[in-house]
């Protein structure tokens, strides 16, 4: 009974904390927008879910399936970032130390976190479900609401994925290496390479184990119906993503997935797998009894004699110095001095191998063929410092230095430019290989785009950090831009000249304007923070 009560209170407190966050609201808005765009106008010149350039009539089954597709795609990534802070918050607020002294077991604690993660995500799924009803009525093609056709995709496909995401968030937070910013990057690769790409159902006896996202459950059924209705025997092409069209898509009538017990069991298996992941998390979780601070690497420390730390000698003496004897000071602000310390603050604590990999990227950018650098190595080069940039704008809040920094002179006029310049310099230095390559190849348009890219990244980091008050937003957004956009050669995302044709199409100018807008947003956001 006591355990159940503890569990209930962990779930409740955690849920309230998350549901009142800005990120929760942003995720809901993004989910609604995605749901809206995944059900295009009946005469739209773009398609999202297509079978041989056909789409289903907008009945409950089709709308339910496509909104679920958009929801699980978005929430499996952004939802992870949203909920991956439950244990970290307990650690930062030191509530964890109180929890550590209570009788609740590690599994009980982590299970509570899993449940609250799941509830947060399930509420967003519920909102997406309500949006799907609205979309069917808005698109007005078949307005008969078949509640089960709409609901079952949410229950059987979306919720099991959310359970898995909720459990993975707990596992990542419980694992020392994955608990920080590196976890977001590792998860992103898991999401982009496994969740998005792996879409196969495996038959295991009476169990049809679908992929985690389960999108192929819909596609298989849609293709079968399409073949039947259109008498197609040859290969059928399916497509998803936003695809431009010459004319509106033709339609066929899809009545939804036949939810056999095998498919249902295959989906529910992911809930069981999610619970197993929580169990695994309990095995690796170290609790709150250890101080999880790590000695940082100082690049130049190898040239210095190691100083012995020594314990605190207390404040029993002031070395014969009296406060009256302190020397006077005169203020003489130097922007370069502040910039130097901003750079220092960003780079301090980076491991030696971080610098080594950054140098390897620079060398690779210089030595490899330009096409490869443009499409692959260049973007990767600017993913590498992602955790440095993501602290911009949010550092004062994260380390609670806000009151000290903001009560200093001209925090807006001095510190914001210095922080931005430091981020810009890091972009220039880490991307110098790509820049020089473009210069050597005589591609001045590309060089200009690269330079704009170097300005865009710190501006995005600063604006998102200040407005969303977390470093995760920038990390997710940059990873999506790079891996979903730039590396897939989607020109609209090309902020850094990764496509040779981008300068001609004016992309650098567009991103220059976006950069200015982001900087303005950062300044306005910081001003708001200063005038509380």
């Amino acid at each position: 009974m006591t355990s159940f009560r503890s569990l209930y209170h962990i779930v409740r407190a955690d849920f309230y904390e998350r549901a009142r966050s800005y990120g929760f609201l942003v995720t809901i808005v993004l989910t609604i927008l995605a749901a809206y765009f995944f059900v295009p106008f009946t005469d739209a010149k773009y398609g999202v879910v297509m079978i041989n350039e056909h789409r289903g009539v907008y009945n409950s089954a089709w709308i339910g399936a496509t909104v679920v597709m958009s929801t699980v795609t978005i929430l499996s990534l952004i939802g992870f970032a949203l909920v991956k802070n439950a244990i970290d918050r307990d650690r930062m607020t030191r509530v964890g130390q109180i929890i550590a002294t209570t009788p609740i077991s590690k599994f009980g604690y982590l299970f509570g976190k899993f449940v609250s993660n799941f509830i947060v995500l399930a509420i967003i799924v519920l909102i997406a479900f309500l949006v799907s009803i609205a979309m069917q009525l808005i698109r007005n093609e078949d307005t008969t609401i078949q509640l089960l056709d709409l609901l079952l995709p949410f229950v059987l496909v979306a919720l099991p994925v959310m359970a898995l995401v909720a459990a993975l968030a707990v596992l990542f937070e419980s694992t020392r290496f994955l608990s920080g910013g590196a976890g977001i990057i590792v998860y992103f690769f898991l999401w982009s390479q496994v969740f998005l790409n792996y879409g196969v159902t495996v038959q295991l006896g009476n169990l049809a184990l679908s992929s985690p996202m389960g999108l192929e459950v819909f596609y298989d059924s849609m293709i079968d119906t399409f073949r039947e209705q259109k008498n197609v025997t040859g290969p059928v092409e399916r497509a998803d993503g936003i695809i431009e069209l010459d004319r509106p898509l033709e339609t066929f009538v899809w009545g939804g997935v036949d939810w056999t017990s095998e498919i249902v069991a295959g989906r529910l298996a992911w809930v069981v797998i999610a619970l197993a992941v929580v169990l695994l998390a309990a095995l690796v979780f170290r609790g709150f009894d250890k101080v999880m601070t790590r000695e940082s690497f100082d690049l130049f420390s190898i040239f210095r004699r190691k100083k012995k730390g020594g314990k605190d000698e207390g404040w029993e003496s002031s070395g014969g110095l009296s406060a009256k004897a302190l020397s006077g000071i005169s203020l003489q602000f130097s922007f370069l001095n502040l910039l130097r310390y901003e750079l220092w603050l960003m780079l301090k604590g980076q491991k030696w191998w971080w610098y080594l990999v950054a140098i390897v990227f620079i060398a690779g950018d210089l030595l490899l063929p330009l096409d490869m650098v443009r499409s692959m190595l260049g973007p990767l080069t600017w993913v590498w410092p992602i955790l440095i940039w993501s602290s911009m704008g949010v550092r004062e809040l994260r380390f609670n230095t806000r009151d000290i920094v903001f009560s200093s002179m001209h925090p807006l006029e001095r510190q914001i430019p210095a922080t931005w310049c430091a981020g810009f310099i890091i972009a220039l230095l880490t991307g110098i290989g790509f820049g020089l390559k473009l210069l050597l190849e005589g591609d001045l348009g590309g060089l200009f785009a690269w330079f704009v890219g170097a300005m865009f990244i710190p501006s995005l980091a600063l604006a998102l950090g200040i407005w969303t008050r977390t470093n995760k937003t920038f990390e997710v957004v940059l990873l999506v831009i790079m891996f979903v956009g730039v590396m897939n050669q989607l020109q609209v995302f090309d902020f850094m000249g990764s496509m040779a044709s981008s300068p001609e199409k004016g992309m650098p100018f567009i991103y220059l304007i976006i950069t200015v807008v982001l900087l303005a947003a950062a300044i306005i956001g910081r001003r708001n923070q200063l005038q509380r």
């Binding site: 302190l326 609670n400 005038q531």
Partner: protein
């Protein structure tokens, strides 16, 4: 050099007033700002430190409204917040150098000043250690050092002795005394003995309102002839707590010696005693707490 707090009020969400029509004029010296937890001390400190704007009223530094010209005050401000963090990867010197750069202190000046301040707070031996591994007391001393970096004319220290051990507390009080002179120091605390040892004037705040402002002697005068001692049994104490302001109890062989602050004699065998600062403080805030002086 004058800091004037005029009719300052601060309202938070839920129609909660942390400060209400607060007035105070400050000149060089140490002001002890006394108040219980949640009295509004930190809100006042944050308003004076230009971190929070008041809902109404003004704070003027040498005649200039700090909401309109915050940098005039920030130039000469040293602020030790009640709850502050550090960048854990930096060592003490690096952290102070960073804050010095933000405050606009040149590199050369900062280096000398930081060496002196680290000596003053006895952290020279730990100057190259990452602050992330510092104890609470050491971290607090780094906070004190950063507040003194720009040789402030106005020094605001919010609950600075929390986290310090008794020796460190004494050191800190001495430091404040040394620093007083041609600067305004506002020392916010709920520990009466801290204020008693350092402050030239004392302001008592309760539920967002200024209850009293005077020098320590005048504050003590408010309870002259109103502090009583009486010996009672354990059972009687609980009943007395409901009826009187009890500022202390000492167990003796005869029973419990209870110290009562009251306008009238609380018991036939009660006898007057010399008032202490704690008595005056409890007396001043008793009205706002709904307590009884039985006058």
């Amino acid at each position: 050099m004058e800091l004037a707090i005029n009719q300052v009020s601060k309202q938070y969400k839920g129609n909660f007033w942390a400060l209400k029509d607060f007035n105070l004029q400050l000149r060089p010296g140490v002001l002890g700002l006394l108040g219980e937890n949640g009295a509004g001390k930190s809100t006042l400190m944050r308003i004076i430190s230009t971190i929070t704007d008041p809902t109404s009223g003004t704070v003027q530094w040498n005649g200039e409204d700090i909401s309109k010209k915050p940098n005039e005050l920030r130039r000469v401000l040293g602020y030790l917040p009640q709850d502050f963090g550090v960048y854990p990867n930096l060592n003490a010197v690096e952290f102070l150098e960073y804050i010095a750069a933000i405050k606009g202190i040149s590199k050369r000046t900062a280096k000398k000043r930081i060496d002196e301040l680290l000596q003053l707070v006895n952290l020279t031996h730990a100057r190259k250690r990452a602050i992330g591994g510092f104890s609470g007391g050491m971290r607090q001393r780094v906070g004190i050092a950063q507040a003194l970096l720009n040789d402030p004319q106005i020094l605001i220290v919010d609950e600075p002795t929390v986290g310090l051990d008794p020796i460190e507390r004494v050191r800190f009080r001495n430091l404040l005394s040394d620093l007083s002179g041609e600067r305004i120091i506002i020392f916010s605390t709920h520990i009466v003995s801290d204020v008693e040892a350092t402050a030239g004037s004392i302001a008592i705040i309760s539920k967002g309102k200024l209850m009293h402002h005077s020098d320590p002697d005048a504050l003590l005068q408010t309870v002259e002839g109103k502090v009583w001692e009486v010996i009672v049994s354990d059972q009687d104490v609980q009943a007395m707590r409901k009826q009187w302001i009890i500022s202390g109890t000492i167990r003796s062989s005869k029973g419990l010696q209870v110290r009562i602050v009251s306008d009238m004699k609380p018991a036939p065998d009660a006898r007057l005693t010399t008032p202490a600062m704690e008595d005056a403080y409890l007396y001043c805030i008793s009205d706002s707490r709904g307590g009884s002086r039985n006058d």
